[in-house]
Amino acid sequence: MNDAKWIDIGPVDQLLTLGARTLPVQGGEEIAIFRTSNGSVHALINKCPHKQGPLSQGIVHDTSVTCPLHNWRISLLTGEALGEDKGCVPVIPVKIDGGRIYIDRAATLAGVM
């Protein structure tokens, strides 16, 4: 069910609980898709606001991910750095429907053509 707004990127069970995987967009940024212990799914550009660490490789806990390079904690909900650190990474809207993950088409393709 790809439509004008959403792109289907496959079943939810491809993501482990507290895990993350990547979605490269040709000619654009890599997107990191995360899954929390409550089963919700979130997507961020896969670049830490600190020094571009690949957030998809961090440890996910609650609704944040700890960057693998220097342990900044980034909110999966807002993309913002938490605690003392300052910075923000773009959030891409995602939703789950019928066990599949849909990602916002416009936000995903922004800056690509």
Binding site: N2, I7, D8, I9, G10, D13, Q14, L15, L16, T17, L18, G19, R21, T22, L23, P24, V25, Q26, G27, I33, T36, S37, N38, G39, S40, K51, Q52, G53, P54, Q57, G58, I59, V60, H61, D62, T63, S64, T66, P68, L69, N71, R73, S75, L77, T78, E80, L82, I101, T108, L109, V112, M113
Partner: protein, 835 residues
């Protein structure tokens, strides 16, 4: 024609009657409740006909679970019996399914061929159980759980005993499993997700639920993906995608429901996931209303009864010309399995603007979590004690400001509305003298206060004198409150020992001790037993817990990859640009032309951007992409090389010098001993990285005196050195002892490593650990206690016999392939799935 018109006529046509004809499709919970609501408002308004596909009167569907469990009979769950229909002049057409709606003619057609016209039509068709379309799904013996016929089928199957497989570990599946288990069947629940009831429960509560059901004798398989239902003529088993086969005489599919929308769709009403209705439950055709699980209202569809009641009221108001409107519902869930109390409501996905308040009481099997956002309760999960469920649900629906009762919120309504508000100390002060403080040692508040008054001025003194808080430690906070209340200003404050992280009040040592004493074997279990205050820990405690469990239970440990730092998860070192470096092991720093050729070939093939000799005597290939890791490992494996663990909290390298084989000063075969040591210790996980070196003489070319374990060969044997560090804070080794043979050197090395593995805090190198426990302590365990040393060494070798494996080999063979693959790839206007 002049024929008189009877007011009570059951009409087959609409024209000319005084009352409008209301036809209801669906004799279920929502349909009949709507009729009740309409009758109570205006009993004379409509002539009513209800069609029901089921051949029976209206009953309480949610009570099918107790019927299956043998706790209720069908008669007891009837809501409206035949006399209700008769008394209210309702015509019930049961056992006759409606098959078409003809909107232009305002008629419906039923399976028996009957055509009935309507003025107003109400669709209340509920849901259809979803059946996963795997091969064999239509075999006899595969059933769903939706109506009384299903229950009858299950009961007659259960009468023959045997095995039941329930597919789906949600509310419905677990209730089916419980019933079948009580009916004497052997029950296995297959659930696709990692935790049961994942839509209603968080991981912690899902874990408790699973443990409880397993204790009762059910088999629960999570992460179980059904591939096929087996059988020839009748079901005989279920096969999972991973190849596992489970015997089954009965398979219950309880994987979800779909709103029953076929009728509406064929009649061209607006249908999305459900039949689309407005706030008055009217569909896209003003003469047709819909209610219950078949509808979609403001984008939401519901699968519980509470919202239906609200919908029915709004519908009845509208149908009797007094529209009120329905605004959607907040729902809560309870599981109807006797003896297990589970409650959940609202949103518990959390977030940084939310605060989680968690309380765990391991001895009573209780887990409570409430989520607060901007001083309002937005979600709650309760396990074990659900008495306050309705209170929380109320706070959630009314969105009351809870700032005044925040501190006491988690303790429930009775506590929060008492006097002991706000300050935890005053709550403790309010406890009676008989109140139990320490459950493990049965110590009351009065006894703790008496012991403080008798001179125990801090936590350790209290622990030593009356034993309160000396066991599991979960009452530490209470004891500290009592110290503060009793001593006032004299109390020096909470003890200096810092807890593991902000998720717990336990220290590393407390946690390690409890893991062993209480036989805790998984991360959720530790979190529950030790009262973690967060639902799933943090990036600092999870890797530590994973290590402590691995160390305590080498043969039973199940890895939790999500609790490993990236390098240990990927078995390579992440670089600043997100690529990885790959370091094959080079035993004792010795290599061969063949190995070098394989490394050179791999460097070419995978376009390593740098090949560097490391400070640990081996070669490092930089700039390898995560997608290429399994392939480069396969190539290096093929040339006989294994992972160098240059990334792990584990054994790194064993540096050696050339030794007696070549060097004119060499006293022993330092290279050979180094290789033996590395063969014995490689692949071992530790609290932090661990480095070894063997030098052939006191000139010490292998720098053994700044290693975690160093061996310096001398003419008369081997000097063993421990606790060195060449990193951030330089520390030369301490001399442990001297031994005469290689065998002894290896045994002491194994024993020392095991002591460090069992007792150090996660992320402590040996240097700070020895500074803390003292060299004398280490000597007393390794040098002075021959028997103890032997046992330590044996435990190390036992762990190695299980854990010493090459992670590259497993990965190259396809294990955890998802870690190396993208979830999908996007090219503008096209999607290519990578799986």
């Amino acid at each position: 024609m002049n024929a008189p018109v009877s007011i009570d006529a059951k009409s087959n046509g609409s024209g000319g009657y005084l009352r409008e004809h209301l036809v209801v499709i669906g004799n279920g919970m929502a349909g009949c409740r709507t009729v009740e609501e309409i009758l109570s408002r205006d009993a004379d308004r409509y002539t009513i006909t209800i069609f029901g596909a089921e051949p029976r009167v209206n009953y309480d569907r949610i009570m099918l679970s107790p019927v299956l469990a043998g706790e209720k009979s069908f008669e007891e769950i009837i809501i409206n019996d035949q006399s209700w229909y008769d008394d209210n002049d309702i015509e019930l057409v049961s056992g006759d399914k409606v098959i078409a709606i003809k909107r232009e003619a305002k008629e419906i057609v039923s399976e028996s061929g009957r055509v009935t016209s309507y003025d107003r039509l109400l669709i209340a068709t509920g849901s259809d159980p979803f059946i996963i379309p795997v091969p064999g799904h239509d075999l006899p013996g595969v059933i769903t759980f939706r109506d009384l016929d299903d229950v009858d089928k299950m009961l007659s199957a259960a009468g023959k005993g045997g095995h039941a497989v329930v597919i789906g570990g949600g509310l419905l599946g677990l209730e089916a499993a419980h019933g079948l288990h009580l009916q004497g069947m052997n029950v296995t629940v297959l659930h696709l997700m990692p935790t049961l009831m994942e839509r209603q429960l968080d991981e912690a509560a899902g874990f408790l639920l699973k443990s409880e059901l397993e204790q009762r004798g059910q088999t629960i398989l999570t992460g179980a993906d059904t591939a096929e239902i087996l059988g020839d003529g009748h079901v005989t088993g279920v096969k999972l995608k991973d190849g596992t086969e489970i015997a089954a005489d009965l398979v219950v599919m309880a994987v979800g429901i779909r709103p029953a929308v076929a009728l509406a769709k064929n009649a061209d009403l607006e249908v999305e996931r459900g039949i689309v209705v407005d706030d008055h439950m009217v569909t896209s055709d003003p003469a047709i209303m819909a209610v219950g699980e078949c509808v979609q209202h403001r984008g939401a569809v519901y699968g519980l009864v509470a919202p239906l009641w609200e919908m029915c009221r709004a519908l009845a108001d509208q149908a009797t010309e007094n529209p009120s409107g329905y605004a959607g519902s907040v729902t809560s869930t309870k599981l109807k399995v006797s003896g297990i109390n589970v409650f959940s409501a609202g949103d518990f996905s959390g977030g940084e603007d939310c605060e989680d308040i968690v309380m765990r009481d391991a001895s009573r099997g209780i887990y409570k979590r409430v989520v607060v956002k901007e001083n309002k309760l937005i979600g709650a999960v309760l396990y074990g004690d659900t008495a306050d469920g309705s209170w929380y649900f109320d706070l959630l629906k009314t969105q009351e400001d809870i700032s005044d009762i925040r501190e006491a919120l988690i303790f429930g309504q009775a506590f929060a509305s008492g006097d002991a508000l706000g300050d935890p100390d005053s709550a403790v002060a309010a406890l009676s003298d008989n109140a139990e403080i320490c459950g493990c040692n049965g110590v009351s508040k009065g006894q703790v206060v008496a012991c403080i008054n008798a001179g125990a001025g801090d936590l350790d003194a209290v622990r030593a004198s009356c034993k309160a808080s000396a066991s599991c430690g979960s009452c530490t906070g209470l004891v500290e409150s009592l110290l503060a209340i009793t001593l006032g200003d004299e109390y020096g404050g909470a003890r200096a020992e810092t807890p593991m992280c902000k998720c717990t009040s336990f220290t590393h040592e407390d946690v390690r001790r409890n893991v062993v004493e209480k036989q805790l074997k998984s991360i959720p279990e530790v979190m529950q037993e030790l009262h973690w205050t967060t639902p799933d820990g943090c990036s600092s405690c999870r890797p530590a817990l994973n290590y402590y469990l691995l160390c305590a239970w080498p043969s039973e440990h199940e890895e939790d990859p999500q609790s490993r730092f990236v390098n240990e998860r990927m078995h390579a070192n992440i670089q600043k640009d997100g690529t990885y470096s790959v370091v094959p092991r080079m035993w004792g720093g010795v290599t061969t032309p063949n190995e070098l050729r394989a490394i050179a070939d791999a460097a070419d093939k995978y376009e390593a951007r740098l090949v560097k000799v490391t400070g640990g005597q081996r070669l490092d290939l930089f700039g390898i992409k995560k997608e290429d890791l399994p392939a480069i490992w396969a190539d290096l494996n093929a040339a006989g090389m294994v992972s160098g663990h240059a990334y792990g909290k584990s054994l790194r390298t064993v540096k050696t010098c050339v030794g007696s084989e070549w060097c004119r000063f060499g006293t022993q075969d330092s290279t050979g001993l180094g290789i033996k040591t590395e063969r014995m210790t490689w692949g071992s996980w530790m609290p932090h990285k661990f480095k070894i070196a063997v030098s052939g003489c006191p000139r010490n070319c292998a720098e053994a005196t700044i290693k975690d374990f160093g061996i310096i060969c001398v003419d008369s044997g081997y000097e063993l050195m421990v606790g060195g560090n060449g990193g951030i804070k330089l520390r030369g080794t301490d001399f442990l002892c001297k031994v005469e043979t290689e065998e002894e050197a290896l045994e002491y090395c194994a024993a020392f490593i095991q002591l460090y593995r069992e007792e150090a805090r996660y992320l402590d190198r040996t240097a700070p650990w020895i500074e803390r426990v003292g060299l004398e302590y280490v000597k007393s365990r390794i040098v002075e206690d021959d028997d103890g040393r032997l046992k330590l060494a044996q435990r190390f070798l036992h762990a190695q016999s299980i854990l010493q494996k090459d992670p590259w080999e497993e990965r190259a063979a396809g294990k955890d392939a998802h870690l190396h693959k993208h979830i999908a790839e996007i090219r503008p206007f096209a999607v290519v799935e990578a799986g």
